[in-house]
Amino acid sequence: MAFYRGEEGSVKFDDAGSSNSAITSTRSWSLTLDKEVLETTVMGDTYGGNVGGIITGSGSVEVIYTASSSDETAAFIDHINTPTDSGSASFELFLDTSGDKKISFDGVVTSADLSATVGEIEIITVNFVTNGTITTAI
């Protein structure tokens, strides 16, 4: 049995949706996958019935601000400021350092929380929702 720790995770991103690159200085990421439930219970049934519906995802990535511009970090942070967003930005959320275990999808950045507190490192939290297929290779 293998165990994994949070520091083994990482995030890759490409705002153009083609060639993902690492986002440096990620502190954490999270993803919640939801499936709508459609009730199939009909008159005369004794027990309720449900089937799965549309699957969606939402989550966040916490990044330390480093003014990095040589990779996708700046594009990721600034993606909230994209006025016409087709939802084609590519995300990969990794669970281990080997790069084999990941969740990938296209998505839309929905918000970015920027903060600066005295005595603390500056943190930016980027929130997103998925767009289309979600691939779980875990």
């Binding site: 949070g6 520091e7 990482s10 690492a22 440096t24 200085s25 502190r27 330390i64 350092t97 490192i121």
Partner: protein, 141 residues
């Protein structure tokens, strides 16, 4: 990037104090694990740099990742006993100003605490105050 050299951080911190106290008026300074026999009724400073609890900063393995190194420097300021605190606080201001919220070669110093007068000086025979400054450095692996 590479693992942090703690001696580089230590020497960065200590060199700043040594340079300041070598200026006029000169105040002898002694660091960790150094022998020193103070002259009675003289003024001198003892500086102790210690590293404490470190923390993860970013995700990643043994490369392309960052840790937070946290430490504290404690400066004990000794001045002659029985003549008031003035000369002690003059030295206290010098050392406090030296580290107050500055960033020296990637070592971030927080707001200093003190100079705090100590009721039981060690060694005895002096008026002793203490200035404490926590610091942080980012290790880029």
């Amino acid at each position: 990037m590479a693992a942090a050299d703690l001696n580089t951080i230590r020497s960065t911190i200590e060199a700043r104090l040594a340079t300041e106290l070598a200026g006029s008026p000169v105040v002898p300074v002694v660091f960790h694990n150094m022998p020193y026999e103070p002259t009675p009724n003289s003024s001198w400073v003892q500086c102790q740099v210690s590293f404490g609890d470190n923390d993860y900063l970013t995700q990643g393995g043994t490369s392309d990742s960052d840790n937070l190194i946290v430490g504290i420097m404690v400066m004990n300021i000794f001045t002659p006993r029985g003549v008031g605190p003035g000369s002690n606080y003059v030295i206290g201001k010098r050392v406090r100003d030296l580290y107050n919220r500055v960033n020296v070669s990637g070592v971030y110093f927080d707001a200093p605490s003190g100079p705090e007068a100590l009721a039981s000086p060690a060694p005895e025979g002096y008026f002793q105050t203490q200035v404490r400054v926590t610091f942080e450095s980012i290790e880029e692996l």
